[in-house]
């Protein structure tokens, strides 16, 4: 088999490993018994959890002190590889840090990369990554034909995180080398959006709104409904681009991937780039006044109707129950 040494680009927030990291580690340990977690930051708070999900070794750079991850972490990884520890595969999460680090590393190592994947396999043809195209209707399997390390990134929720019984691995400190002119960018201030309620990509119920709502003011119906159902509000790209809600609300190809128990799509027609982000929901309810809207093709319950009539009545009915 081609994969003997696999790395996972691991991340944590507030001293806790991200779900995405645990998902990748779970998959990694099914491919190799030698799994290394690379952390751009301080790993001490979640080393045990990384070990529990399969990491047998951890590299950590410590706090980046404002350096942007892409340049700093790719340089640190290159140093480790030049020092002799070269993996067959490095798995990255498809997020800002992961993609930027993977991109710079591909140039430093002169290796190809594959993004947007939902699976990886070690087959007779070598390492194969699978990606959905055309809104998820087609699955394309691509094999790496050159030497490793093979750089692959994965969409969130491609795998399910499951703990095993691994112990806490040792943390090997790595230093970020001098970055020269490439290190000319630094973070000077961090702004965190205040949100209440569950995170969009973790909520059991998501209520999303689209252009069918008519105007920005009507988005409040989505917020109200989400709150009543203890869920998270989401949005189509159209209303994010129009400025009704921030980008963090966006569900879809270029937004968040969600897999809630229930996804309610109100005034959303179902462009393929939107459906890619929510097709994996267990149950889908759609409300749209156009009966030809593509969203009805994947909805478990489709209501052909005016959101301005259906939503207020739904909200009223739910309010009178509680």
């Amino acid at each position: 088999m081609a994969i003997n040494n696999i790395w996972v680009f691991a991340q944590g927030t507030g001293g806790v490993a991200t779900t995405g990291t645990l998902e990748l580690l779970t998959k990694a340990r099914s491919l190799s018994s030698k799994v290394t977690a690379f952390v751009g930051g301080d790993a001490s708070g979640f080393a045990a959890s990384l070990g529990e999900h399969g990491a047998t070794k951890i590299y950590a750079t410590g706090d980046l002190a404002g350096k942007l991850p892409g340049v700093a972490l790719s340089a640190a990884i290159k140093t480790i590889i030049d020092g002799g520890d070269s993996p067959d595969v490095i798995m990255f999460p498809q997020n800002y840090e992961g993609r930027d680090t993977m991109a710079r590393l591909s140039v430093k190592l002169n290796r190809t990369l594959l993004t947007n994947n939902i699976d990886i396999a070690d087959s007779g043809d070598g390492v194969i990554a699978t990606t959905p195209v055309f809104g998820g209707n087609l699955l394309v399997a691509t094999a790496f034909t050159g030497p490793g390390p093979h750089l692959v990134s994965f969409r969130p929720k491609s795998f399910v995180a499951e703990p095993a019984s691994g112990g806490t691995p040792e943390i090997v400190a790595v230093t970020v080398p001098d970055l020269g002119t490439q290190g000319g960018a630094r973070v000077v201030a961090v702004h965190t959006e205040q949100t209440t309620g569950p995170k969009l990509d973790e909520a059991a119920i998501v209520v999303s709104g689209g252009r069918g709502l008519g105007e920005a003011g009507n988005y409040s119906m989505i917020e109200d409904l989400a709150k009543l159902l203890k869920g998270a509000p989401g949005a189509s790209r159209a209303i994010v681009d129009a400025g009704w809600v921030p980008y963090s609300y966006q569900v879809g190809q270029t937004g968040k991937v969600v897999k809630p128990s229930v996804y309610i799509a109100a005034g959303i027609s179902g462009a393929t780039q939107h459906m890619v982000g929510m097709k994996g929901s267990k149950n889908i309810i759609a409300i749209n006044k156009d009966k030809e809207a593509p969203i009805f093709g994947i909805a478990d319950l489709g209501i052909v109707g005016d959101v301005h009539k259906v939503l207020p009545k739904l909200i009223e009915a739910l309010k009178s129950r509680s």
């Binding site: 790719s74 993609r99 960018a185 702004h191 052909v304």
Partner: protein, 258 residues
Amino acid sequence: MNIVVCVKQIPDPASPGALDASTHALKREGKLILDESDAYGVEMALQLVATAGAGEVNIVSMAPNGETSGMRTALAMGAAKGLLVSDPALAGSDALTTAKVLAAAITKLGGADLVIAATESSDGYTGTVPEQIAEVLGLPSVTFAKKVKIEGSVLKVDRQSESGYDEVECTLPAVISVTAGVVEPRYPSFKGIMDAKKKPLDVVTAGDLAVTPTGWAGAGQKIVNVTQAEARKAGEVIEDDGEAFGKIVAFLENLKLI
């Protein structure tokens, strides 16, 4: 303030995509247009040059088939000149090769104070080329730039993050990638469209830029299989008669969610 914008000309997203039967690559025949994401980059570049009071915006692109109509759109918006790298040998190139080609094109134009690209293309969605270009050119970069200001020789960026945004400062020259929706791209005026026909738009090959290997041979990857994904079936679809909200309540009750 000289800015180079990397643009991509893509099949019209309104028409359904298709894969070539033998190579499994995205079919790129038919009409190619300027990727909407790149219109944002061109607009931002034009605004930054206007604020600086001097300089120009140039456009680079890579295409297998000599297509230039999308680049003419950028020239019609106000860019000064374009450089297209077009070569059948480039068909099947991966993101890394694309980045090397575009970096070489930028160098051929004499470099820039700032290079702008979209965060990802609307047909491929790989999303790594701008950062790869920065690495090839040895420059710092800021991806997912929402708001951009230049103060002296410092680039100040509001950069989108998972939880909001970060304020980032960067030395110039640098590369940035911009998210859709950060500025309102201008519609080319009639005069702009007429002027664009006369603006310089050179076409070179990969060989002219000394970039090899390219295309399928150089990509380091090979598509081995394309399969149909399991389709999700539709359930019940009903017309609202004023009481449909009740169906939603019943649906949620049935799942014990309320």
